[in-house]
Each structure stands twice: as structure tokens, then as C-alpha cells.
């Protein structure tokens, strides 16, 4: 109705148009705005509402049921004096950094190799991408078996005659995170490779010709010219990888259940354990608030730099 009356006014009087146009701005692209309303509402109510609710209740002593029983920062004090939480944070940092670096490097190298116009490219692409079709639960179970000291790699190598061969990461607290990392990389690099490959295919053939004319070597062309040109692709890849790292949970549950001991615990598992195993919602909320905080501190400034800057420029 508002639109109809506005349009009427526009057609009748030109002098009014300039004044009328400003409020009308809200109604531009009205259909798409109406179509977006449910999503906006969902985002505001579910994401923001849920987040605020969680943060508020993290200051309470809620047990099995949420209850407004204010205890201030008690839950946070307990959280930061709990060995399991500290171990979880360290594990996530270790897994996160290594996973980010190796996924990008391996993903890019695989993509670059496939881009060299090799034979059977489709076959290789399928093979590398296949693990991504498996869930983390299946991945975790597969690698639990592969890394099992009796039936897996260690067992097979020992059967072949190398009796002293030891490769048992899942039962060694010091290196268990690397056992998880192997499985995570196996599952995740394929997708990153595909994204990188798409980026490489987007590079104009003339760039390569120009580089060749200038006598620049292949590796140097990649490092100095192609990679800087692929910046948006890398940004996408980094966002995908980091979101996967933060929510790391199912892989750990399937592969090690946090063991041996507490040596492969991760924050998301701590949250689940506190909320549902320990019937202590407040503690779980406090832990998830800390997870949110770390995401906000690390990701938001970076995202603003990356996406906000471009819009203005």
C-alpha cells in the first residue's frame, strides 16, 4: 500500500519527488527484501537471541535445566582452573595452526600439479575429493582402525619383518593430536584442492604466456604472480578451514573419545560433556562463550579488513 501511494505521488507532482524519494529508499527492491525477512528474523532471533541467552545463562548455576540463579564469574573461574579445558585449548591451537597450514599447502600443491595438464586428471581429482564425501565420524573410525597398533599400519609393518617398528599415535598422549591431524587432512584437503583448482583455472592463459616471455620460472610464477592473483580463493579456503577447526568435535569423538586420558580433548567436546554428561549447563555455556569470544577476537578484525576494506575501495 505504501508503495502504491508513493508511486502515485511521484507521477502527480515532480516537485514532491525529491522529498518523497528519501523515505522511499527503504522500499526499493521491495520483493527481495520481503523474501529476505524470514532469514533476517532467523538470524536475529536464533543467532543473536541464542547467543545472548547463552552468554547470560553462563553467569548462572544452571544444572540440568536453565535457571536464573546468578553466580557471577564462578563458572569462568572454574573453567580456567580446569586442566581439561586448558588441554582442550592447547590442542585446538595446535590442531588449528597445523591444519590451516597443511591444508592450504597440500591443497594448493595438489591443485597446481593437477593443473599441469596431466593425464587422468579427472581420476585423480575424484580420488582426492572422495574422502570429503565421508562424514567425520566415518573418517574417525577408519583412521582409528588404520592407526590401531595390532591391526593397522604398525601391525602390518611388523608382520613384514620390521619387529621394532612403532607407530601408535592414538595411544601416546604426546602425539595423539597428530593422529587426529592426519585424519583431518585426509578428509579436508580434497575440497580445498578443488577450490584452488577452480581458482587456477580462472587465471588467464595470457598471464602464463607473459611470464614465459619474461623468462620467469614455473615455481616463481606460481609464488609471485599466481598466488597473489588468487587472493579471494585463499580467503574462501581459509574461512572454510577455520570454521571446520573451531567446530572440531565428531572426529575426536569417533577416533579417540578425547583419550588417552584427556590428551586429545577439544573445546567443543568439553562443552558437550559439561552440558549433557555432567548436567551442568552453566559450565557448558561458559565454555561456549569463551569459544565464541576467541572466534570474535580472531575472525572479526580479519573479516573486517578483508571484506570491509574492499567495499570501500
Amino acid at each position: 500500500m505504501a508503495v502504491a501511494s508513493d508511486e502515485g505521488r511521484v507521477s502527480t507532482s515532480r516537485t514532491e519527488t525529491a522529498q518523497a524519494r528519501r523515505p522511499v529508499r527503504l522500499f526499493r527492491n521491495l520483493m527481495s527484501k520481503i523474501a529476505l525477512t524470514p532469514m533476517i528474523l532467523t538470524a536475529v532471533v536464533v543467532f543473536f537471541g541464542g547467543t545472548i541467552w547463552t552468554v547470560v545463562y553462563s553467569f548462572t548455576s544452571s544444572g540440568l535445566l536453565p535457571r536464573m540463579n546468578w553466580v557471577g564469574l564462578d563458572q569462568y573461574e572454574r573453567l580456567w582452573s580446569t586442566a581439561k579445558w586448558l588441554v582442550s585449548i592447547q590442542n585446538l591451537a595446535l590442531y588449528g595452526i597445523l591444519s590451516l597450514v597443511f591444508t592450504l599447502v597440500i591443497g594448493f600443491v595438489l591443485a597446481a600439479l593437477l593443473d599441469r595438464k596431466i593425464r587422468f586428471e579427472d581420476t585423480f581429482r575424484t580420488i582426492f575429493l572422495y574422502p570429503f564425501a565421508l562424514s567425520f565420524i566415518v573418517t574417525g573410525l577408519i583412521w582409528q582402525w588404520i592407526l590401531n597398533p595390532d591391526f593397522g599400519i604398525q601391525g602390518i609393518v611388523r608382520d613384514m619383518g620390521w619387529e621394532s617398528f612403532t607407530f601408535n599415535p592414538l595411544n601416546d598422549p604426546d602425539i595423539v593430536m597428530y593422529g587426529l591431524l592426519i585424519a583431518g587432512l585426509w578428509q579436508g584437503t580434497g575440497l580445498i584442492m578443488c577450490i584452488m583448482l577452480a581458482g587456477l583455472r580462472g587465471i588467464d592463459e595470457d598471464i602464463w604466456k607473459a611470464a614465459r616471455v619474461d623468462g620467469i620460472g614455473t615455481v616463481k610464477t606460481y609464488v609471485r604472480i599466481i598466488i597473489p592473483m588468487m587472493r579471494p580463493v585463499f580467503v574462501t579456503a581459509v574461512v572454510l578451514i577455520t570454521s571446520g577447526i573451531i567446530k572440531l568435535y565428531d572426529l575426536v569423538v569417533a577416533q579417540t573419545s578425547g583419550g588417552p586420558g584427556i590428551s586429545s580433548e577439544v573445546p567443543a567436546k568439553y562443552v558437550m560433556q559439561a552440558m549433557f554428561g555432567g548436567q551442568n549447563l552453566g559450565q557448558g555455556f561458559a565454555a561456549s562463550t569463551m569459544m565464541l569470544l576467541s572466534v570474535v577476537i580472531i575472525l572479526v578484525p580479519w573479516a573486517l579488513l578483508e571484506f570491509g576494506g574492499r567495499k570501500r575501495g
Partner: protein, 410 residues
């Protein structure tokens, strides 16, 4: 009678039946072979002996997976007719929130206070003088399972107590046998610690710590002894990388490990492997140091539905679960002990008999689940498994952190 009146009468009967016959969805996490057989005894009893129908709502994945599902169903306003929890504090908040059906009148009509043995089981169902759950079985942690053959290989007698066991350890190790089989999951290590605490620190100190939350006792000399023994056990379990409790039991069955400290559910594994109590394996309740059983187990809770017909059906089911025939059928299939002392199980071996004798003599303790909140239990699980997997962590350090957890629980 004309056909018309006959039809009318039939319709009336159907209608009358429909008012009372309820479809009762019962949620539980009993999915392994023996457990499923046991729960089908409940279903059979309900279907055959009442008008109601049992709708099986089994959730695979154990209590930690099932409990959140049940709780969210109840909070979401779509409660099942009944659901299984462990005895104790797990459901306390649901009761406080008024979501559980008060079963006090059933309990009085059926005389539960007289028949339930030990009475602590009913205490665990009681909140502010009202009864909210129906206990169905007793499981006890206080058992050590020994492989007779392993001790024979090592050339020592099968020990009769923990002390004798510690003396046999060097001989076992020399024979290449892992003295103690322990799985990698935290609840196994914490449960084992509980058994050792009752056996080595004594009942009084154990109650002081677990019931009265006395941190001084937890810091004291008797618990230092327990932690020292626990640290020894840590060394003795080296060399066996297994996760699940039944894999550890299997090591004892195959004589690669000499002993396991595990609840009475482990006996099912020996039975499946075709081993005989007394000949192939031995059992020591209370580690042979104290004659006592803790009495954990399962209980059924009934959510408030606001539907009087359903309420009547729920109470009928509650009474049925505790009736003698159902108790016998269920517990014989599950391998647990019945909650009433006046029934006889169909098959009883040497070890089960030992357990029954202890129950008959009232040598029982409440279980950790009844005394400690799930939150505290989780903290203790974490501490014990960290200690177990960190060889550099000393017994004193673990004891101090244990005392702090007990202190904060109090």
C-alpha cells in the same frame, strides 16, 4: 438379541477399552544382546498382563547419549510414558521442576518400603518424602575378576584379596602377563578407583568423602594409601592398549591379563565366552578386603502428562516392574540382581550367589551415582583418566586435586 444390539454392545466394549488401553512409549538405552532380551521381558509383561501396549523407544549409544534425548523430549512437552535413568541424582532437577509423576500411592499400595532391599534404592527415588521412581535392578561395581589360568602360568595361587594380588604381581610380570586389565575410558578408571577406595580406605572413610564431602578425610592418610595403590595399578596395567571395558574383560578371558576390576556386568562376557565361575575365573567382591557391595542400578521414571488415563497406566506399569515374576524374568536375562529379597533367580552361579549373600546380609553401600552429582562424577572421571595417562603425575598431586573436587562439591 438382534444384530443391531450386538453391534452396539461390541462398539461400546471397544469404546470402553479404548479409554483405558494406552500406548506407552518407554525410552531406555538397553541395546546390547542381553539387555535387549531383558527389556523384552518388561514389554511382554505389559502387553500380556495389562490392556496397554509397550512401544519400545530404545536409544543406542549408552546413557550419555540417551539422557539428553530424554530430557529434551520431556522439556519439549512430548514426554514418553516412562524412561530409564540410573538411580540417584541424575533426575533430581526434573523432580524439582515438577515434571515427574509422584508414585507414592503406588509404593504404599504395593508396600515398596517393605520389599525393596536394600532400602537405599528406594531412598534414591525419594525426594522430600515422596517417591518418584521405580527401581528395577541392582548392579554393583565391587568386583575383581581373575583368570585362574593366568595365575597358574605364573606359578602362583589365585589370590584371595588385593594384598595377595599385589604379592603375585612380580611373578605375573615375569611370566609375561599383564597383571591388571584396564580400558581407556575415564569412567572405567574412576569406577575402579571407587572400588579400591572402599576396599582400602574402608567404608567409613569412603562415606565421609562421598556422602559428607569431607575434604579432610580425602586429604588424609587412608586415601593416600588408596592413591598409592591406584598409582601401582597404573604401572601394572601397562602394555595393554584397549578402550572398551569388554575388550579388557576379553584379555582376562584369554589369559593375557590376570585380573580386571569391573562391575558385575563383566560376568556376562565370561558367560558368553563359555567360562565357568570357580573353574576358569574367580571373583572377589570388595577386592576380597571388605565384604560389601555398592548398589547402583537402573530405575524407571514417569513424566507428568496431565492425562488421567495415562497416569493410571503409568502407575500400573510401575507396579508391574516390581512384581516378583517380572523381577525374576528381567534380572535373569540381564545378569543383574533383583531389587527385592523375596524372589529367587532361575540361574545362579558361584559369583552371583556371593553377591546375593551380601545383599541378604545387608552388607551394602549406596552407589557413587546416588551420592555424587553427575557434575562431580564428570570432574572425577577427568581427574582419574588424566592421572592414569600421565605417568609424571604423582599420587600426592592427584590426591590434592581429588580433595579440591570433593571440597567444591560439598
Amino acid at each position: 438379541m438382534t444384530l443391531k444390539t450386538k453391534l452396539l454392545a461390541a462398539t461400546a466394549i471397544c469404546a470402553a477399552g479404548a479409554v483405558h488401553a494406552e500406548e506407552m512409549e518407554v525410552m531406555h538405552w538397553w541395546t546390547s544382546g542381553g539387555e535387549a532380551a531383558a527389556v523384552s521381558e518388561f514389554a511382554k509383561a505389559l502387553n500380556e498382563r495389562t490392556d496397554h501396549t509397550w512401544i519400545d523407544g530404545a536409544i543406542a549409544g549408552g546413557g550419555d547419549t540417551a539422557r539428553p534425548v530424554m530430557v529434551s523430549r520431556i522439556l519439549g512437552g512430548d514426554p514418553p510414558a516412562a524412561f530409564q535413568f540410573n538411580h540417584g541424582l541424575q533426575a533430581q532437577e526434573l523432580i524439582e521442576a515438577g515434571l515427574m509423576l509422584d508414585l507414592t500411592d503406588v509404593a504404599e499400595a504395593e508396600g515398596w518400603t517393605d520389599i525393596v532391599n536394600p532400602p537405599s534404592l528406594l531412598d534414591a527415588c525419594t525426594y522430600e518424602g515422596r517417591i518418584y521412581c521405580a527401581p528395577v535392578n541392582i548392579h554393583s561395581w565391587q568386583w575383581m575378576w581373575l583368570s585362574n589360568d593366568a595365575f597358574e602360568q605364573a606359578g602362583v595361587e589365585v589370590p584371595e584379596s588385593w594384598t595377595e594380588f599385589t604379592e603375585a604381581v612380580p611373578a605375573l610380570q615375569e611370566a609375561g602377563i599383564t597383571p591388571l586389565a584396564v580400558g581407556g575410558q575415564s569412567w572405567q578408571q574412576n569406577g575402579m578407583f571407587g572400588v579400591m577406595a572402599i576396599a582400602l580406605a574402608g567404608q567409613e572413610d569412603w562415606l565421609a568423602v562421598n556422602r559428607d564431602k569431607n575434604a579432610e578425610v580425602a586429604r588424609g592418610e587412608s586415601y593416600a594409601r588408596v592413591f598409592q595403590a591406584f598409582a601401582d595399578a597404573r604401572d601394572w596395567s601397562d602394555g595393554l592398549d584397549v578402550q572398551d571395558w569388554n575388550q579388557a574383560t576379553n584379555a582376562v578371558i584369554e589369559d593375557t591379563a590376570a585380573a580386571q576390576i569391573m562391575g558385575d556386568w563383566a560376568q556376562g562376557e565370561f558367560a558368553v565366552a563359555g567360562e565357568t565361575a570357580g573353574e576358569d575365573y574367580s571373583c572377589l567382591p570388595g577386592l576380597g578386603e571388605v565384604a560389601i557391595l555398592d548398589t547402583g542400578g537402573d530405575a524407571f521414571y514417569f513424566p507428568v502428562t496431565g492425562d488421567p488415563d495415562m497416569e493410571a497406566a503409568q502407575k500400573e506399569l510401575a507396579a508391574l516392574l516390581l512384581s516378583p515374576e517380572v523381577q525374576v524374568a528381567f534380572n535373569s536375562a540381564k545378569g543383574s540382581l533383583p531389587i527385592r529379597g523375596d524372589v529367587d533367580l532361575t540361574t545362579v552361579n558361584e559369583c552371583t550367589q556371593k553377591g546375593l549373600d551380601l545383599l541378604a546380609n545387608n552388607q551394602t553401600l549406596p552407589s557413587g551415582n546416588q551420592l555424587l552429582s553427575p557434575d562431580t562424577t564428570t570432574q572425577l572421571n577427568d581427574l582419574m583418566t588424566e592421572f592414569w595417562n600421565t605417568p609424571s603425575m604423582t599420587a600426592e598431586e592427584a590426591q590434592e586435586r581429588y580433595a579440591q573436587i570433593i571440597e567444591s562439591a560439598g
